[in-house]
């Protein structure tokens, strides 16, 4: 039975990584910081005069820079995608089961870049870093950034690292949305997009869950309109509840039932202390999260999720929105994912088929719900592995040379 590595990042991923069937860990990795002095215009109308991105790289960039793969992270993960830090063997990257020597995305062949998004709290410019204009942490003043802003910032990092065109951009959940956005925003800079456990936009229900999580933070007396650092406090209660809500949506009903059911810790006490195992599990996850995560970041990243909607700028037509994309696609969904259900991935597939794009779609039968994209299902890892093998076999020569699936659209018609 699969261990319950319920997680969207952090050290929990170590449990999942322990199940990796083949390949080795990339070993010790080193986070880096890239500073960008050129201003970055944002979707909200504001401009970041300068910014920093935390990133890691694994493998070796080919002489022609054709083997670079960008990994985009989901809600609360980071640039620490694979390997571990020196002296911290348990601090394993969140997609270590996917990326490393001999793993599905093989670092012996690909140069892999993990990047931390703007507005995050793991090193890139965000609410907890210093605003150069004031010399104090940005806090609540950090702009609301969008998926498109992240992608634009990532493109600057690609420039810096000498990557003109990615062999692939790949991500799960919110990371998959970034891969999709890359394909549309920088069509000539990406040969493949791997869009995993994603959606073309959030449903009303998805936004509703995000709003409840945000309200938990915004109404925490320790939030202080986002200026909690000045008060020497942290809205832990809000973060805890936000994480508990999020966690419910990452798991399937089936998996939760299987793992916890109605199991009690120590009988009924007729109290509000945690009695059911699921209660203590959620509280534990919430506690952990509140320690390492930033409330202003959580608010911003959930907003970036809510705002993502490429079709909205194309008259509501996802097909028209995706028309500029000319890369090849692998779309993967998980049968028990009710947060971003397979039907949402099929919307992406249909829009690509309507544009005659090369796309493959795999629907992975797993019990784990949305978290499936982080875990070790043999079919899932094999599908991604086979697709990456194909990317490697094509090499750079395939750069948009293929006509697509009979594509009449822009870029190939």
């Amino acid at each position: 039975m699969t261990s319950f590595a319920a997680t969207t990042g952090g050290a929990d991923a170590a449990a999942a990584a322990a199940h990796a069937r083949s390949g080795r860990s990339i070993g010790v990795v080193v986070p880096r910081l890239a500073r960008f002095a050129e201003p970055l215009p944002l979707a909200c109308g504001r401009v970041l005069p300068e910014f920093e991105l935390a990133y890691e790289t694994y493998g070796t960039l080919a002489a022609d820079a054709s083997n670079a793969v960008l990994i985009c992270h989901a809600l609360n993960a980071s640039h620490h995608v694979a390997g571990h830090y020196a002296g911290e063997p348990d601090n394993v990257g969140w997609w270590d089961n996917m990326i490393g020597p001999g793993k599905p995305l093989d670092t012996d062949r690909f140069f892999v870049i993990g990047v931390n998004n703007l507005g995050s709290c793991f090193g890139s410019s965000g609410p907890s870093t210093v605003n150069p204009a004031t010399g104090a942490p940005w806090g609540a003043d950090f702009p609301l950034v969008t998926v498109e802003d992240w992608v634009d910032a990532q493109a600057r990092l690609a420039d810096r690292l000498g990557v003109r065109q990615f062999a692939a951009v790949m991500g799960g959940s919110l990371g998959g949305m970034q891969a999709l956005s890359w394909a549309v925003r920088y069509p000539d800079r990406i040969r493949h997009a791997l869009v995993i456990a994603a959606a073309p936009n959030l449903s009303a229900q998805n936004i509703a869950f995000n709003e409840v999580a945000r309200q938990a933070i915004l109404t925490d007396p320790d939030f202080h309109d986002g200026r909690f650092e000045a008060h020497g406090v942290k809205p832990r209660r809000g973060l805890r509840i936000a994480r508990m809500i999020g966690h419910i949506t990452y798991l399937s009903d089936e998996q939760m039932e299987d793992k916890f059911g109605r199991e009690l810790r120590d009988g009924l006490k007729f109290s509000f202390a945690p009695e059911f195992q699921i209660e203590s599990y959620l509280r534990h996850q919430g506690e952990k999260f509140a320690e390492y995560y930033d409330a202003n970041t959580y608010l911003r990243i959930t907003k970036a999720l809510d705002y993502f909607d490429p079709a909205s700028t194309a008259g509501g037509s996802l097909a028209r929105a995706l028309a500029p994309a000319v890369c090849r696609f692998l779309v993967v969904a998980f049968t028990t994912d009710w947060r971003f259900a397979p039907a949402r991935s099929r919307e992406i597939v249909k829009a690509l088929v309507d544009n005659h794009r090369d796309v493959s779609y795999a629907e992975i039968a797993v019990p784990h719900g949305h978290d499936g994209f982080l875990l070790d299902d043999p079919q899932y890892l094999a599908v991604v592995g086979a697709y990456c093998d194909r990317i490697a076999a094509e090499g750079a020569g395939a750069a948009h040379a293929a006509p697509g699936a009979g594509a009449p659209g822009p870029g190939s018609g």
Binding site: L330, R346, V349, K350, V353, D354, H356, D358, V359, S360, Y361, A362, E363, A365, P378, Q379, A382, V383, G385, A386, Y387, D389, R390, A393, P403, G404, A405, G406
Partner: protein, 204 residues
């Protein structure tokens, strides 16, 4: 990685590849339903510069298609072709799959909705060896029907004469019909001597 076990039909199918390939216009846009490991699509891409997608429900088939550099969409054909617009393909192929489908008539309708024309291939139940086995009181087992009665996926077997009647009753226009035995076209008594039937048809 689990090896993909092609159906016996697919293994025997190289001859029908050539027949189908001859009917596919260069650079045609093709949808292959129940595409298995994608070998037919790979063949059509290579020989006819065709483009398009395969649909496959089986995990091993999907994985094999990805390895074969064929576009594959994992989906259950029984739920129809809702992901495809009307007349969005030059040709929709159903190779050695019709006999295993529950909603036979519905899938033929769907094929002619999304495709300008349809190609269907199936093992001919009317082949003399099958008839002989039934006369002997046993369910037929052969190279084209390699299953025992209790483990067969085939639930809608038919003969060449049956399929002729099926198309005729629906006023569908048969553009080509080839019946193969041992990889060669059979023109004399095809319903008795043919192992594999290949039809190309469209709305009249």
């Amino acid at each position: 990685m689990a090896p993909y076990l092609p159906s016996a039909a697919a293994a025997a199918g190289r001859a029908d590849f050539a027949t189908i390939g001859a009917w596919i216009a260069p650079a045609a846009r093709v949808l292959d339903l129940g595409c298995g490991d994608g070998s037919l699509l790979a063949y059509l891409q290579r020989e006819r510069k065709a483009t398009g997608y395969g649909i496959e429900i089986d995990d091993a088939g999907v994985l094999a298609c990805i390895g074969n550099a064929v576009n594959v969409l994992q989906s259950d054909l029984e739920s129809g072709l809702a992901g495809f617009d009307d007349a969005s393909f030059d040709c929709v192929i159903l190779s050695q799959t019709l006999q295993a489908m529950r909603h036979t008539e519905a899938i033929v309708n769907e094929m002619l909705r999304v495709g300008r024309e349809a190609i269907v291939t199936f093992p001919n139940f009317g082949h003399w060896t099958h008839r002989l086995q039934i006369l002997r009181g046993r369910m037929p087992v052969s190279s084209s029907l390699p299953y025992q009665w209790y483990d067969t996926p085939n639930i809608h077997l038919c003969t060449v004469a049956d399929f002729d009647a099926f198309l005729d009753q629906r006023r569908l226009e048969v553009e080509n019909r080839v019946v193969l035995a041992g990889g060669r076209s059979v023109s004399v008594l095809p319903n008795l001597l043919g192992e594999l039937a290949i039809y190309r048809f469209r709305k009249a």
